[in-house]
């Protein structure tokens, strides 16, 4: 397949279609609307299911119903819409049916704005809905990665009967970059045994997330937790840049990660031995990789487009062995590479204290408007 120039949103949509998407249900919200629009053209022309739902509540529950039939299904939204989907996501996790969710994050909280942000990390990575549940979360940083991870998302969803979230920010959704799409995969014909179908094989199946008897619920909880251990063991993904001889590590995901790459290159050009670790799977988080790095480097700089959400996971992995600094921009403001370069230099040249919290030090450095 030749490379094509695509927006992140449409690339994800077409990648999902080529991965054998049977049904899409969604609701318009900037900055992910191109994804829904692409689906509205392509799915009907391929004879597949597309519904523009009445709300994100409608969309996620259509996905829930469709997922119960064992088909490949997905929805997409942006921050406020994802909040509305939380109920359905939890039910889907509790029913153990696979689905793919694309979250194109924007500035918040509340209505916020439509500019790129990463402030929903905790909502998805450490949440995703009520109850003990663990969505797999993949964070691409380029159009090509968005394509590849979308395809992977369906396989992982089915393998672990799990929710897989492709988490990007508005800029990747809107950005155009060359990417290579996979060939069109045939639609799945095999129906998983658990899927409802109307009992035409003489077997009766019910799917629900109810376990009214607490010990039964606990059995389910344990099953989900053990399945999650398996995910943690097998599905950690990340990308390393210039880490071989690095004495300092910058880490960030998605757009913040790729912006940091420019800063790391600029620092390298000035002779600073710094590298970049860009987590791709945010859940499971590359905790061990960071723990190992913390044995041999002198410090970490976490950059995010939020107030330090992945920061907490990095700190847990570093476990106080080395200093950690944080630099974030919020509310739809995107950090430029020179800001991150400045932070790298500050970390390298100054003494970063081991005491105190990097978030407090960062807030101290940020301007005060009132």
């Amino acid at each position: 397949m030749a490379k094509e120039m695509m927006k992140g949103n449409t690339a994800i949509a077409e990648a999902a279609i080529r991965a054998g998407l049977d049904a899409y249900f969604g609701y318009p919200i900037t900055p992910q609307t191109e994804l829904l629009e692409w689906m509205s053209v392509r799915m009907p022309e391929l004879g597949r299911a597309f519904v523009q739902a009445e709300s994100e509540l409608g969309a996620i529950n259509m996905v829930y119903g469709a997922a119960c039939t064992g088909k490949r299904v997905m929805t997409s939204s942006s921050s406020p819409g994802i909040s509305l989907m939380m109920e359905g996501l939890s039910y889907i996790a509790g029913t153990e049916v696979p689905m793919v969710l694309v979250n194109v994050m924007r500035g918040g909280p509340g209505l916020g704005n439509i500019a790129p942000a990463q402030a929903d990390y905790n909502q998805i990575v450490h949440g995703g809905g009520h109850g003990d549940m663990h969505p797999i979360v993949l964070a691409p940083a380029s159009v090509q990665e968005a394509i590849d991870l979308t395809v992977l998302a369906f396989d992982l969803a089915e393998k672990y009967r799990a929710i897989v979230v492709v988490l990007i920010d508005g800029s990747l959704g809107q950005m155009m970059e060359p990417g290579e799409l996979p060939p069109m995969a045939p639609l799945k014909t095999a129906i998983p045994d658990w899927a409802v179908r109307g009992g035409d094989d003489g077997k009766r199946r019910t799917l629900s997330s109810i376990y009214l008897n607490p010990p039964d619920e606990e059995v389910t909880n344990l099953r989900l937790e053990r399945r999650w251990q398996e995910v943690q063991a097998n599905e950690v993904r990340y990308k390393e840049y210039y880490l071989e001889d690095a004495r300092y590590v910058v880490t960030g995901f998605g757009s913040a990660g790729r912006i940091a790459l420019s800063a790391v290159r600029a620092a390298r050009a000035e002779g600073i031995p710094v590298g970049l670790l860009r987590p791709i799977s945010l859940n499971p988080f590359p905790r061990q990789v960071i723990a190992d790095l913390s044995e041999r480097v002198e410090g970490f700089l976490v950059t995010e487009m939020n107030a330090g959400q992945m920061l907490d996971d990095v700190m847990a992995a570093v476990a106080g062995r080395k200093p950690v600094e944080f630099y974030g921009r919020m509310g739809g403001v995107v950090p430029f590479p020179d800001e991150i370069l400045g932070e790298i230099k500050r970390m390298v040249n100054g003494q970063v204290p081991m005491s105190g919290h990097p978030r407090d030090r960062w807030l101290e450095r940020m301007p005060r408007a009132n």
Binding site: K3, M5, T30, P31, N113, I114, A115, S142, G170, S171, Q174, M175, M176, E177, P178, S255, R258, I259, A260, L261, S262, A263, V264, R265, V334, F336, P337, D338
Partner: protein, 180 residues
């Protein structure tokens, strides 16, 4: 090797399309490229801009603060980007839409009355192509041939007849003098 370009102007001046053409041309030449628009309510009738990064290796930030080159198609864009162009860079100004000269002594300035040229060519919509030609003459980040090919592939069917005029507009722009 990485080149960063910002194109800015009013919505409707072909700002985003000019940037996309650059991006398509870069892809044509097998380069890494990103194109990112300012998106949102400002797209609807207000100012629009896009950043294009062309490189030989994996691109880090698609966001650009100090571009090597900028095309500014109106006064607000001149006011905003004049100061941001990197020293030694290129600023292409649509003088039809600004009422003051560029003040920077440390950059190459190409001042083009692009609206007038486009009108002389018979189609006001060629303004962006005139300016793009002016840019590529000073900063050959992609070849004119690659842009030509990109145009051919990405102009909607109903506009294919405008291909020769687009080419001519680029050449007119490329022949405009630069002030170094």
């Amino acid at each position: 090797m990485q080149t960063e370009i910002i194109i800015a102007g009013f919505g409707g001046q072909g700002v985003l399309f000019a940037g996309q053409l650059l991006a398509y041309a870069a892809m044509e030449e097998d380069k890494a490229v990103t194109w990112i628009p300012s998106y949102g309510p400002e797209m609807r009738g207000g100012t629009a801009n896009c950043a294009v990064v062309v490189a030989d290796e994996e691109i880090g930030s698609p966001f650009v603060k100090h571009p090597q080159a900028a095309i500014v198609m109106n006064l607000p864009s001149l006011d905003k980007y004049e100061a941001l162009v990197a020293p030694g860079g290129v600023l292409v100004v649509n003088t039809s839409m600004v009422d003051r000269p560029c003040q920077r002594p440390d950059i190459t300035v190409v001042e083009i009355p692009a609206n007038e040229i486009a009108e002389r060519l018979g189609d006001r919509r060629m303004t962006n192509m005139v300016l793009l030609g002016g840019l590529l003459a000073q900063l050959p980040v992609v070849s004119m041939e690659a842009v030509d090919k990109a145009l051919k592939e990405h102009l909607p069917e109903r506009h294919q007849k405008l291909l020769p005029l687009n080419r001519q507009a680029m050449q007119e722009g490329a022949s405009q003098p630069a002030r170094v």
